[in-house]
């Protein structure tokens, strides 16, 4: 794996990769599952460096992460010192901003008690003008009928407490039956959960149906 590719993956996670390079890298990610697994790890390690792992703690976790990092010495976070310093600076400045926000919130609360109620975030959402971010999206192209999406791949991902870990597939019920219930259920899910469920319906690799028990 070239140093350039490592840098590109790292920049993608940090939102610093130019749009043209992003498109090329994403195409490559589709073809190379090992690269995709590495992207997930970069996100995870980036989170760790930024301190976004509040739910799992303890020496066991530290040892496992440290073991995973050592096992993958050529692949994982061995960023240059400047990069680490930048991440720490970002984390520290984040804390400073958070402290500032807390102080301002207190002031706002006091003002709110003597004047109008504080407006929520929803009220602050700008209306009207469309917001454009990232690269433009083209309408879907017509694809050939009957071509099945191929997503079944093997990865050599180490045990991780941060990246989505492979889980055993429960496929006792026939897949079409599962999809039927999940679709019906998605109608009553909150939008985020409903989207997640439907994404899985689309993204899940086709699995051969098992006989009814």
């Amino acid at each position: 794996m070239s140093e350039l590719l490592n840098e590109q993956l790292s920049a993608l996670v940090d939102g610093e990769l130019p749009v043209a390079e992003t498109a090329l890298l994403l195409k490559r990610l589709e073809r190379e599952p090992e690269l995709a697994a590495r992207l997930a790890r970069y996100q995870a390690y980036g989170d760790l460096l930024r301190g976004h792992q509040p739910h799992a703690s303890g020496d066991g976790l530290r040892h496992r992460i440290s073991a995973a990092l050592k096992a993958e010495a050529p692949l994982t976070v061995a960023p240059d010192r400047a990069r680490v310093a930048r991440l720490w600076t970002r984390a520290v400045s984040g804390l400073a901003v958070a402290a500032g926000v807390a102080a301002v919130s207190l002031v706002l609360l006091q003002q709110g008690r003597t004047s109008a109620p504080t407006q929520g975030v929803a009220a602050a959402v700008p209306a009207g003008e469309p917001t454009v971010t990232g690269t433009p999206v083209q309408p879907p192209k017509i694809a050939a009928a009957g071509v099945v999406a191929q997503a079944s791949t093997e990865t050599r991902e180490p045990v991780s407490y941060v990246t989505p870990a492979p889980r055993p597939r429960l496929q006792v019920m026939p897949q079409a039956e599962l999809a039927r219930y999940v679709m019906a259920h998605s109608e009553v899910s909150a939008p985020l959960a409903a989207r997640s469920v439907l994404v899985h319906l689309v993204a899940d690799a086709p699995v051969a149906e098992s006989p009814d028990p």
Partner: protein
């Protein structure tokens, strides 16, 4: 400074902190709730189109979503960018899932609730009982824009949580990590391109594959009848924090008992319990478990009926609920009260 003065200052500072801290906590929680509500509103009410990576189970896939809200009607198209794969279309209250690998199209008609826009959670006080909401800071997202990180941390193992990177301007979740109660990430959705606003033509909501020869299969909640029916079945094992929100009865195919659809919620996660009459031969009610992504299912056969619990919660949660469903004529001894449940 004398020792007594230092002690007095310390006591005063401690007392001041103890007075201020609950206020800070309340402000933080309400602010986090505001962000959560803003995200939910954005997802349900804004027109947007985007490409994103879906990372789970060691797989990565590129997907595209097109979502249009026009005249209070939602149209949505979800497809893989690999082409020719599965697709989901939601148009005018009808959900269609195209499965080219099975040559089938699953059709689900929305219930009387009005679909997506009618089911937004209220994010009330009960949410706080079941989840801890935390604003974790700001960060540049994968789109290179400022985002706010919101953590929705489950208070027990009966539900999942989220860590969300919300775009500071549009409030759209540009990265979503689904996590369990131990903080393990189960899946990630990472937007690489997103356009919020504007308009999408009708042509964007047509399947990109030729499904004319597919077999249509209607879901268990199709052809709904008016809601508000009484639930005569018994749910004896419901995890803490979940409450029954609605009971609907929908006509099934001809000659089959109506399907009862019970919806439970803890303020964020929803669980559906479907109670279906004995299927016509040669079909048989089956018991089993399943998973589609982060939605787990547990099915049981109870008095010849098919009882299925499904939700974006851990398997043991839906398993528990399904195992506790008893028929209307269950003997009084079987209707045991909900016992204290061990922490999973």
């Amino acid at each position: 400074m004398t020792r007594s003065l230092r002690r007095r200052l310390g006591v005063t500072a401690g007392a001041a902190l103890s007075l201020v801290w609950p206020v800070v906590a309340v402000i933080a929680a309400e602010s986090a709730r505001d962000w959560l509500k803003a995200m939910n509103d954005a997802l349900a009410t804004k027109t947007y189109q985007g490409d994103f990576l879906h990372i789970a189970d060691g797989h990565i896939e590129r997907l595209r979503i097109l979502h249009r809200v026009r005249d209070n009607e939602v149209a949505e198209h979800l497809l893989t960018l690999a082409g020719g794969g599965r697709e989901v279309l939601r148009i005018n209250g009808e959900l269609r899932c195209f499965l080219p690998d099975q040559q089938r199209v699953l059709i689900e008609t929305e219930g009387p609730s009005g679909g997506l826009l009618g089911t937004l959670p209220s994010f009330g006080a009960e949410l706080e009982r079941n989840y801890r909401l935390e604003l974790e800071g700001r960060e540049r997202s994968s789109l290179g824009r400022e985002s706010r990180i919101l953590a929705v941390v489950p208070r027990d193992g009966y539900r999942f949580g989220y860590r969300l990177w919300l775009d500071a301007e549009s409030k759209m979740p540009v990265r979503t990590d689904l996590v369990d109660a131990h903080g393990r990430v189960l899946e990630q959705l990472l937007f690489t391109a997103l356009v919020v606003g504007g308009s999408l033509p009708d042509s964007a909501f047509r399947p990109s594959l030729d499904a004319t020869s597919y077999t249509a299969v209607r879901g268990p909640a199709s052809r709904p009848t008016p809601s508000g029916v009484a639930l005569d079945w018994h749910l004896t094992r419901v995890p803490p924090g979940f409450e029954v929100r609605s009971v609907d009865q929908q006509a099934a195919s001809d000659g089959v008992e109506p399907v009862t659809h019970v919806v439970l919620s803890d303020g964020l996660a929803a669980i559906s319990v479907f109670i279906e009459g004995p299927p016509p031969p040669p079909r048989q009610a089956v018991a089993g478990q399943g998973r589609v992504g982060t939605a787990f299912l547990s099915s049981r056969v109870v008095s010849g009926h098919q009882v299925t619990a499904v939700g974006e919660v851990p398997l043991h949660t839906v398993d528990l609920i399904a195992a506790g469903v008893l028929p209307p004529d269950a003997p009084p001894g079987a209707l045991r009260a909900i016992e204290p449940l061990a922490q999973p």
